[in-house]
Amino acid sequence: MLYREAGQFKASYMQDQQIFPIRQDQIGFWAMIAFFFLVVPVIANQYWLQAILIPVLIFSLAALGLNILTGYCGQLSLGSAAFMAVGAFATYNFMLRVDGIPFIAALLLGGLCAAAVGILFGLPSLRIKGFYLAVATLAAQFFIVWVLVKFGWFSNYSTSGVITAQAVTIFGYTFTTPESKYLLTLSIVVVLALLAKNMVRSSTGRKWMAVRDMDVAAEVIGIRLMHTKLQAFAISSFYCGVAGALYAYMYLGTVEPEGFNLDLSFRILFMIIIGGVASILGSFIGAAFIVLLPVFLNIMMHSAIGAFVPANVAANLELIIFGALIIFFLIVEPHGLARLWQLTKEKLRIWPFPH
């Protein structure tokens, strides 16, 4: 009854092309923004901010990056963690070696470095696709981590390549409290997510989708394959790179190259499968799901068994549940949780009538 677009007329092209054409969606969106910017920092405690909300936001950004490449452009990548590592280490080096560089500048430059590396490893995508490309991105995964471990310059010659994030200062304000870090992360993620949303609904995104659906056909209608694929690789890696830098600076504080392993890449891939392939909203839902699942499982196990659950049992159970969920989602709902939300909205529009 409430969620209905009857009576909402669009009188200009601008109104017709807005991201949320239905007024209720707009209200919902602004309410969410207000809630996460104004209410959450006040009501959430340190644990929620530091251990859940910040990682969810960061992984959403990484998932967004992978979604651009895999979901929209159809190029399966198993190396997203490596691009995160490039972003983190590049940002670290810019902060370290360039005197007085603003954090945001270092962050963007780190993202650009990741984009450059992404283009390099995206080059094979011009010749190969599908599984072959997935294996080629594995090369990126192993090679980049190896380079970061082996060459001390990247980590300023610390043992085993561990880097410790410098303090982040913007306009004289130092970000130390979880609340401030949360707000900074949230702002960056919201800006980049809006950018991504606009990219995928403009000609850029349409080109990606054309390439994904059938690259030969896309080429026939005049889309430059090389340009489009490399663009997707660059933008995707940029997002992953920024996410990696935030992962180091806003979340963990201390990271090592081995932390950006294949496992993390798979985790990000799972986020987009569960959240929704080719969906901006899905990246957020998927990231929240994957971050919250272990926490939730832990609570469940404690309340079910009562006693202390050994860490390795919990870890194995997590593996089993992750695996089963992936298979379940692929079989039951290949478009992920975002699709469920979309179905709910469609049902709501005609509610209480069945058709």
């Binding site: 094979p124 594995l138 090369a139 390795n312 194995n316 997590e318 593996l319 695996g323 692929l330 079989i331």
Partner: protein, 308 residues
């Protein structure tokens, strides 16, 4: 020069083992068009199940630990678990995903990988176990005396087992009725179905055989490096092997394995020192990637033609 040949032979022998893992991928890909990422997890599962049974069987049956009876009983039990796993995978995971794009199937097998790893460790624990096949890891005396080369006896025997397996499978594929049916299914599912080949049985057989190959690979790798989680990473090395050899070719898997094995060892020994070592971890992938730029379908793969 002796040293060069020592490294080369060592590399070739370990390449045979990569090929063994790759063979499992090829079998399933040929017959059902599924790129089974979980093959590595299956290798791990097989090895762990075998070791687990050898540990618990003496307690259950009263047989002497380490005796031949325990070995064969554990082998039989592990093999049947692998076959059950394979058939269950086919029924539960892949049957409902028929007609989905290949990339969806691929992601489903990644999910399967996690599931199988979790189940294996959940049942048998996470500790590293030794696996003794009764083959000593000592240099072959003949080569030692005549050519002054250090070549492990274990590697030679493992390679011999692998070769026997390759030949058996080749004969099975080429000359038996089941083998003909398998090849027909690989060529065209629908055509095979229409001439009366029972597709479901064939897929069950393929997954069973892949489970068997995974068990052999798991035993040999496990005996060499210990049965541990790292086994799944070793299995990942089969991916560049597949790329070199082509996804659909059994001889390709073998030759790809030999090339990867030899080149990674030679690169480690001769290039490694210049860049700080440890390049074995990524060299095969980069090699495969560069190779793909020149020949996207692999050495023996079928050329893919795109039509709009």
């Amino acid at each position: 020069m002796t040293f060069f040949f020592e490294v080369l032979i060592g590399g070739l022998l370990s390449g045979v083992l990569y090929a063994l893992v790759a063979l499992g991928f090829v079998l399933i890909f040929k017959a059902s068009g599924v790129f089974n990422f979980a093959q590595g997890a299956m290798v791990f599962f097989a090895a762990l199940t075998f070791v687990g049974f050898t540990e618990v069987l003496p307690g259950w049956t009263g047989l002497a630990p380490g005796s031949g009876a325990v070995f064969w009983l554990a082998f039989a039990l592990a093999l049947s678990s692998m076959i059950v796993l394979g058939i269950a995978t086919e029924k539960v995971v892949l049957r409902p995903l028929v007609n989905q794009p290949p990339i969806t199937l691929f992601m489903a097998t990644i999910g399967l990988t996690f599931f199988v790893e979790g189940v294996a460790q959940g049942i048998w624990g996470t500790s590293v176990r030794g696996l003794d096949l009764g083959i000593d890891d000592e240099p072959v005396m003949f080569l030692m005396d005549n050519f002054n080369m250090l070549v492990s006896k274990f590697d030679v025997i493992a390679a011999a087992i692998a070769l026997v397996l390759f030949v058996t499978l080749a004969i099975l594929f080429q000359y038996t009725k089941v083998g003909r049916a398998l090849r027909a299914v690989a060529d065209d599912h629908q055509a095979a179905l229409s001439v009366g080949i029972p597709l479901k049985h064939i897929w069950a057989i393929v997954w069973g055989v892949a489970g068997f190959v995974a068990l052999i690979a798991g035993l040999i790798w496990g005996a060499r490096n210990g049965v541990q989680f790292a086994l799944t990473f070793t299995a990942l090395k089969a991916l560049p092997v597949l790329i070199l050899g082509g996804f659909t070719s059994v001889p390709g898997a073998i030759i790809g394995g030999l090339i990867i094995g030899a080149s990674e060892k030679l690169a480690e020994v001769y290039l490694g020192p210049y860049v700080g070592g440890g390049i074995e971890g990524w060299f095969p992938y980069i090699l495969a990637m560069l190779f793909l730029l020149v020949r996207p379908e692999g050495l023996f793969g079928e050329k893919h033609i795109d039509r709009v």
